[in-house]
Symmetry: C2
Subunit: 472 residues, 2 copies
């Protein structure tokens, strides 16, 4: 009788979660653990092999198993921004457009755009799924899909995220053209020109484009680069202003990588529920986690249908398929109507192929592999930054997501830095486009596509040198 190997596995995982085992620690030998737990050697062996496959531990030749560790660096964390709740209209459009134009340029070293390197995506599996859909030569694949999207795909996504969003139902979901369409539908559903909207500071620059294009006023809530949004700040803003909606990203906020804790998420959702203020949640980075468990979402704690959850598979599977999804809660009808008059429906073929992919492949397994590579690249970039950048450079070391947020010495203007980097053939994103104010003018965002190599290291070295030049 006794333990099965999955139970051994969970035991180790619980040690990791409680911090009883830390990165770099040696695990008990097979023999020792088999005696301690009273199970066979092969059971322990099977468990260790599984943990290795998940990227949690690594075998070192002639030395045993170790908790996976990454290179270390000694960079300080950037500080949390000051609190300043003044509602603001602003002009960032032209600057953002200038940056956007650069991000798509394939000639540049891509430290600007957020997308996994194509070689790390499951191309063969996706193409196989696509071919199998084509094989049947069914004329329906040329037809419009339903406004709300393919039912099978919605069902499979529901299964996949049931742990994160309890009682997730395919009927509550619409498929969108990436998370961008989901977010755009949400903002257009919930706001009218002149409305106040709470955003994080720093926040994804695209939200600033929404606000500026739709004539909204931004109230910035400081995002602590480690702990994300403080419920106290949300409470104060709600008390002082009439707020129509919030746009928050709890899991690995772009650009600061902050993770708003579960307790804070719960408290913020409760606060908003009291005042019936809707929350637009961007969770595209939630699947890119380096810990054992995927973090939950604001939506996890939503009792009143006030959280409009937006996500996609663009950061983990297939950016070019343009498949995202939205859970509009109580705003379903309005979102449905706007989707019908924005794009009618999303591409039929991509939805069918993705449904087929989910049927035959493990999305989670794909994530584990990808996330491990992103984490590895991130840690290596941090070591390189520590080596090549001037003293006083600070950087985040997030627990997930695919961006690093760098605070450069105060003399450096990030827009100039962006332009000079461009001349060096490198794209990065200047801090100024992540806020309505100039508070991040000496910050830059560096994104990680999962590939660590000489070219990237050289790029970081050149950026470091540029930073030195700009100081003098």
């Amino acid at each position: 009788m006794g333990f099965k190997y999955t139970e051994v596995e969970s035991t180790i995982i619980s040690y990791l979660e409680k911090g009883l085992l830390k990165p770099g620690d040696r695990l008990p030998s097979l023999r020792k653990l088999s005696v301690t737990l009273g199970v066979s050697l092969s059971t322990v062996n099977q468990a260790y092999l599984n943990l290795e496959k998940q990227g949690l531990i690594e075998a070192r030749p002639r030395s045993g198993y170790y908790v996976l560790s990454y290179p270390n660096h000694q960079l300080d964390y950037p500080k949390s921004p000051q609190t300043d709740f003044t509602p603001r209209t602003f002009k960032r459009k032209d600057l953002i457009l200038e940056v956007l134009n650069v991000l798509g340029n394939e000639q540049l070293l891509p430290l600007g755009i957020i997308a996994p390197h194509p070689s790390l995506l499951p191309l063969k599996e996706l193409n196989r799924a696509m071919r199998s859909v084509l094989q049947e030569n069914r004329a329906e694949i040329l037809n419009y899909e339903k406004v709300e999207g393919n039912f099978l795909l919605r069902k499979q996504i529901s299964f996949e995220y049931l742990d994160i969003i309890p009682s997730l139902n395919p009927e509550d979901m619409l498929i969108t053209n990436g998370a961008m369409e989901a977010l755009s539908l949400a903002v257009r559903t919930l706001t009218r020109p002149g409305d106040n909207v709470l955003i994080q500071s720093p926040t994804y620059f695209c939200f600033l484009q929404f606000l500026e294009n739709y004539g909204l006023r931004a109230i910035e809530i400081p995002s602590n680069p480690k702990r994300g949004i403080n419920p106290k700040d949300v409470r104060e803003a709600l008390d002082r202003f009439e707020v129509k909606a919030c746009i928050f990203s709890a899991n690995f906020n772009n650009p600061d990588g902050s993770l708003t804790t579960e307790e804070q998420k719960k408290e913020i959702v409760a606060l908003l529920a009291q005042k019936e203020v809707p929350l637009i949640e961007d969770d595209v980075s939630g699947d890119i986690y380096f810990g054992v468990h995927r973090p939950k979402a604001f939506k996890t704690y939503d009792q009143k249908g006030l959280v409009v959850y937006c996500s996609s598979f663009s950061k983990t599977l297939c950016p070019g398929y343009r498949v995202g999804w939205i859970l509009p809660g109580r705003f379903y009808k309005k979102v449905y109507e706007l989707k019908a008059t924005t794009s009618v429906s999303s591409t039929t073929l991509c939805q069918l192929a993705l449904a087929e992919y989910f049927k035959n492949n493990s999305y989670t397994k794909n994530l584990k592999k990808l996330n491990k590579l992103i984490e590895l690249q991130m840690k290596n970039i941090l070591v390189a930054i520590n080596k090549y950048f001037p003293k006083g450079t600070k950087a985040t070391s997030p627990q997930g997501g695919s961006v690093l947020w760098l605070e450069l010495p105060l003399q450096i203007d990030s827009i100039l830095f962006f332009q000079k980097a461009l001349e060096l053939g490198i794209s990065i994103v200047p801090g100024n486009i992540f806020s309505t104010q100039d508070r991040f003018k000496n910050f830059i965002r560096i994104s990680c596509n999962g590939l660590w190599n000489k070219e990237v290291e050289n790029g970081i070295a050149r950026l470091g040198q540029l930073a030195y030049e700009l100081i003098n």
Copy 2:
């Protein structure tokens, strides 16, 4: 020397255009024409075969060649609506949503949704194109396409439409998620809540959804079911009101099938240019023409970049690919920015496959075939309507597009008709959703997917019986 067969072909086509040869007329015998034109028999034969392939003439056994004729009917044309320029806000959303929900229902006889029958689409050719794109297993197919869309595809579309839009340039174009996204981007680019917008009456119900969702005021310009928009009406509306934009469909307006003549198009564009008022042009039906030449567009006559041209391949090739295009003229930058924050870019794979399709296939040949079938179905439906519907029923007999616009006896309420038809398993669209006013409450729209068969005839018969019942 003498005539080549293409010259014989153009001679016949010019006779058709001038009305010297009419549907049903017998063409000169091969021998006679060969003598008249002084060319060989085989030259004339080649020309006739080509004209037959294009669906312009038909061979009748032991009788010779005839100009293709369709069955006749004796239905009157509906009258032009009254002029009433009052700017209006309105509530049609819920009714439109009710209709939209029905249109997607595959259990119903589809006389409501506008989409060619899947069996008439070039499935094999498109699948071949898609497979050839997949074959290379290039990782790039999973990546984001440019915001403005794939360059090759834009180039091929430019070639295809050079006759319609002189000096069309791939750089002036963005690929969108169907014409719907193009139109939605255009409206959001050009208007702010409270603005006056000129629309046709009747107009595509989706434009009413735009106006209602964005808080715009509609000024309705009567659409003559034969000749479309009268420039005089546009002039008067522009004189009386501050107009921010027009949304017009010159070619086979949905639902009345009207064709605004080239002279009128030219005059309207000139009028708008004088006052610098932008025109959003929906040309999705322009490719579905039954005459010899495709009609031109408002955009053809646009000198000042004020016409924002929107179209797609959803009515002719592949609705489910969601590929449309927009020529934003002088509003390019704003449209680009909105596209980037609405869906980032359109599906990479579908754009690549469509570019591949255009490279290897004749889009025009595909159109000729499809258009001939739609025209044939349309004429047959009209004959059936004449047979099965009550006296006093009027109907359009458009020169293109895929909808028929029926005026039923005044006692009939089209919403009740819509609901009762639904009970009979048939989807149609009630006239009331094509205007801000109740002026079309005894009208219905019937769409033609290109398939004429017993099932469709029975459907029309049942609708006719329903009309009789609703009169009593």
